[in-house]
């Protein structure tokens, strides 16, 4: 039976950080088995598995099955760059909505510790000895550095600078202060890769990667996994009161891509698809930005967090700098943002991120977030964006029981 009433029954993330002794299947299995246990179910109850991993060899879903239970259910291996985890969750939700199953499992996993600079290839770029035009631009050599930048820190630096140019108020110091907030938040998160409070001076004087992003303003490459069990409302009613009480309602689940606009061919437009996803999500959920008790947004770089305040409607158009400077996004502010520490300190194991941010929100909505609990949190939003591009937004609400 098709269902529009979808709940998260169980959800877990592993510790983010360095896991040299675990392979991606160990990490994924740890998260998946923990999510099943958290939901009080086993693989026997699961009707579909959606899994994401970018840096491994492919087919991670079936590899996970062999470690947690090989029951013959359909597996969808999905990818959408940094939105991969959210895409896996969306796929499981879609299977439940379609009435194909009443319970699904989504897993995201990545091993990135020591991976270095992403987006910049990784292989040395040497020119051919005899020039020959290649690819859709007919380039005779690598364009990275010669025609702008391919590196993520540089691309997202430009995204933040563009916003600053358009609306004013953005500066190196402002971006660094956003990072200061997230590093401060991380001190309360035992699962974060880095939990060190950093001063504004330390952040601004850290190694410059791509102005205005210093190293501590960039998302941290690390290892980690996260997994979630989703269930239809009808099935949830047959489960225990405790399961129903801890279940978190998925009020909105949205995936978008970037529609064409003039400049998107030269600088990825991370704004329009986020604005579109947010608009659809608020409509689906029947809530607005003012109803949100916390937000986990995709601060892959400090420069990105600024623009997403605006894209998610947390402030007036063009008012992101003022919004931040008002203190609104600190954990004691009007709309706490990235109380987990965000990708800059919690870490960013790419395909795990889109489920881990939902775990963070659920953790608060269940009142289980310990020292970093946002008191009385009822509604939260999780946002993730991958270049290429894809944006996933989920709005979550605590059970009324």
């Amino acid at each position: 039976m098709a269902s529009d009433d979808i709940w998260i029954l169980g959800i877990k993330m592993t510790k983010f950080g360095k896991h040299p002794d675990k392979d991606i299947v160990d990490l994924a299995s740890e998260a998946a088995m923990a999510a099943l246990a958290d939901g009080g179910v086993t693989m026997k109850d699961i009707g579909i598995l959606a899994a994401g991993n970018l840096m491994g060899g492919g087919g991670v879903g079936q590899q996970i099955q062999k470690q947690i239970g090989q029951t013959g259910i359909p597996v969808y291996n999905v990818s959408n760059a940094c939105a991969t985890g959210a895409t896996a969750l969306r796929t499981a939700i879609m299977a439940v909505k379609a009435g194909e199953v009443d319970m699904g499992l989504a897993v995201g996993v990545e091993k990135l510790a020591g991976a270095g600079l992403l987006g910049a290839g990784g292989k040395a770029k040497s020119d051919k000895k005899v020039y020959e035009p290649k690819g859709r631009y007919g380039a005779v050599g690598s364009v990275d550095g010669r025609i702008g930048t391919d590196s993520m820190p540089g691309v997202f630096a430009q995204v933040g600078m563009e916003y600053g140019h358009k609306y004013g108020g953005a500066s190196f110091e402002l971006f660094a202060k956003i990072s200061e907030k997230n590093h401060a938040h991380s001190t309360l998160n035992p699962l974060a890769a880095y939990t060190k409070r950093m001063t504004l001076e330390e952040i601004m004087n850290d190694v410059m990667i791509a102005y205005p992003n210093t190293r501590s303003m960039c998302s941290a490459n690390c290892d980690g996994a996260a997994a979630a069990v989703v269930v239809s409302g009808a099935k949830l009613k047959t489960l225990s009161l405790e399961q129903q009480r801890r279940a978190i309602k998925v009020k909105a689940s949205v995936l978008t891509t970037d529609p064409w606009q003039e400049a998107c061919q030269v600088l990825p437009d991370v704004n329009t698809l986020t604005k579109n996803a947010a608009r659809i999500a608020y409509e689906q959920a029947g809530v607005g930005p003012n109803d949100l008790d916390l937000v986990e947004l995709h601060d892959c770089f400090a420069t990105a967090e600024l623009v997403h305040y605006d894209n998610l409607g947390l402030c007036e158009e063009g008012g992101a700098a003022d919004f931040f400077m008002s203190g609104a996004s600190w954990r004691d502010g009007k709309t706490p943002v990235n109380v987990s520490g965000g990708l800059e300190s919690k870490g960013h194991p790419i395909a795990a991120t889109g489920i881990a941010n939902i775990w963070e929100v659920c953790h608060h909505l269940r009142g289980e977030a310990g020292d970093r609990q946002i008191e009385g949190a009822k509604v939260g939003l999780a946002h993730v964006i991958g270049l290429g591009s894809a944006c996933g937004i989920h709005i979550l609400e605590k059970s009324g029981l």
Binding site: L117, A120, G121, G122, K123, A124, K125, S126, D127, K128, K129, V130, Y131, P133, G135, R136, Y137, G138, A139, V140, G141, S142, V143, D144, G145, R146, I147, G148, T149, D150, S151, P153, G154, V155, A157, Q158, V159, M161, E162, G164, H165, F172, V207, M208, I209, A210, Y211, P212, N213, W260, E262, A263, Q265, V266, L267
Partner: protein, 130 residues
């Protein structure tokens, strides 16, 4: 003198060096790369259009850490050339926040990339303060 070729095929050398785009004849969307159809209106007819050589700096980053083989620091920039956005590296400017300002006027400049084993020289483009 050795043979010269453009570093990318949307750069036209000669007396008046400039960039060219493929413009969709249906909706006017412009693309520097080859497209099977228009991303905006799905049309499949394109014509070549010249891009103006002066523009304004709309976004930048000073990249100080890059993949092996990429010379740093460099200034990556997005330039608005009369309504068409162009991605480039700035040239003839010191790569520091004191010298690169949002909104500054820039113009197209040529940047030699070096010769291949047959002596063919590749010429790239950049933008420099106007």
């Amino acid at each position: 003198m050795s043979k010269q070729i453009p570093f990318v095929d949307y750069l036209v050398l000669g007396d008046k060096p400039h960039l060219v785009a493929n413009e969709c004849t249906g909706c006017g969307a412009r693309f520097f790369d080859r497209r099977n159809a228009c991303a905006s209106c799905f049309g499949t007819l394109f014509k070549k259009v010249d891009i103006v050589t002066e523009g304004e700096l709309r976004a930048f980053s000073i990249v100080t850490f890059a993949a092996p083989g990429v010379k740093v620091p460099f200034v990556s920039a997005i330039v608005d050339c009369g309504g068409t956005s162009v991605r480039c590296t700035l040239t003839n400017v010191e790569p520091s926040p004191e010298h690169v300002k949002l909104g500054m006027k820039v113009r197209l400049a040529l940047v030699p990339v070096g010769a291949d084993d047959e002596g063919t020289e590749a010429i790239n483009y950049g933008f420099e303060p106007a």
